[in-house]
Symmetry: C2
Subunit: 229 residues, 2 copies
DNA sequence: GAGTGGTCTAGACCACGGG
DNA sequence: CCGTGGTCTAGACCACTCG
């Protein structure tokens, strides 16, 4: 008698794990499982939906539920505000504004943000520090037309990262991770040698149909982004 | 009259977005919202649970539901089998086994896998190709004691990646992303210059309490991992 | 057409944890 | 203590899609 959906999930996972139900194979439908487990169908539904979300099950109306044959691993990355990322590991957070100006961005930026190539954006460069040592170098473009009030924010004490979270809304975004080398301009800021390998994140956030901000962050050497699987 | 949980979710998101409910603020309880929306409480529950999972709401029994003040962005990464990642972008997948042997691993590996430092593991090195060009270099250690049958797998035609998915079970794992530079040994295999920046993933998977495999993958220069936000 | 998952409902009980 | 979210139930209708 399995009483709650987490028990059902555990039992289903056990059967998949034990190869009772093999990859690619169909599993019984919800009604049958509910009867077997002695619970309501909605409880089984909740459990199976949860497993399907993790990628281990493939569910389709009428076609039924089958065990995924090549389950792609799914990992949920939590990307906190940089202050919290640093303080969360017990280190002291520091912040330093490098520059703030209104400029015409490189075409790569305006294109990505779907803006005319001759418009101006707010350009912020800042350094985040952990225990007074360089941690990450932020290079950000903000569309002031989409973020009211940003013209009055000077970003000297509070990072654009946090200010935007409090003051700007966004509906969705994209993020990319890659690797690059420290250039001669960036290396001294990050306290590393030119040519050192750097982990990079690039984010682009949207408010419905308009790009809010685009940011590229270079992390000091040794940075790792980790998560469970 | 909001009839389904997705409409409820949309309306709640709209109110958060419109700052009707500000960051850190409490929102009405489920029963009240259900009454207002003209639907059952469970429908509201489903919607709010979904939003909470994305990090925008913070829910606690008795304390109620409040809008997150510093919502950490959450992104779900889908990490497919390498073959599917390459074929999914319309390129031809290629695979080449570089070496396969039984060795005593470096202590870093045995320690991470929580194994005695004098035990042996199966060591696989392989190259994944996209359109006949180097795509990623895989360096993997497998515990044959945890994966029955792995001693008979030669991995000449099928990658360890795929073989393990079909033949080995795992319950959980960890994954880390970072950056490194191409060493003199790896550079020619990846078709790049020594010193080129490489994106790296390191994965460690477990079957309950025993480490199954540890793999480090170096991606050829230019690789990006992207996802929605 | 018919079987399957997706969802809604109304009511109920319970666990947690703030006050 | 007691309000709030977490969950279960039984039944119902519906949408999708396979055959």
């Amino acid at each position: 008698m399995l009483r709650d959906w987490q028990s059902v999930r555990a039992e289903v996972l056990r059967r998949i794990h034990a190869r009772d139900w093999k990859p690619g194979e169909m599993i019984p439908n919800e009604a049958d499982l509910a009867a077997e487990f002695g619970c309501a169908r909605s409880t089984v539904n909740r459990a199976l939906r949860d497993i399907a979300q993790s990628g281990l099950l493939d569910r389709r109306r009428k076609a039924g539920t089958r065990v995924a044959s090549n389950p792609a691993a799914r990992a949920t990355l939590t990307i906190p505000v940089m202050r919290e990322e640093i303080e969360g590991t017990g280190r002291k957070y520091g912040y330093q504004l490098l520059s703030r100006s209104t400029e015409i961005p490189p075409v790569a930026e305006s294109a990505a943000m779907q803006l005319p190539p001759d418009g101006t954006l707010l350009h912020i460069r800042a350094l985040h520090l952990a225990d007074d040592r360089p941690f990450a170098l932020e290079n950000r473009w903000i569309d002031p037309g989409v973020v009211p009030g940003v013209a009055d924010a000077h970003f000297e004490r509070i990072s654009a990262n946090e200010w935007l979270l409090q003051n700007a809304a966004y509906t969705h975004g994209e993020i990319a991770f890659s690797a690059t080398v420290a250039g001669p301009a960036d290396a001294p800021l990050l306290g590393c040698a030119a040519g050192a390998p750097l982990f990079v994140t690039e984010r682009l956030t949207w408010d419905t149909t308009r790009a809010v901000t685009r940011v590229r962050i270079l992390f000091a050497p040794g940075y790792q982004m980790r998560t469970g699987l």
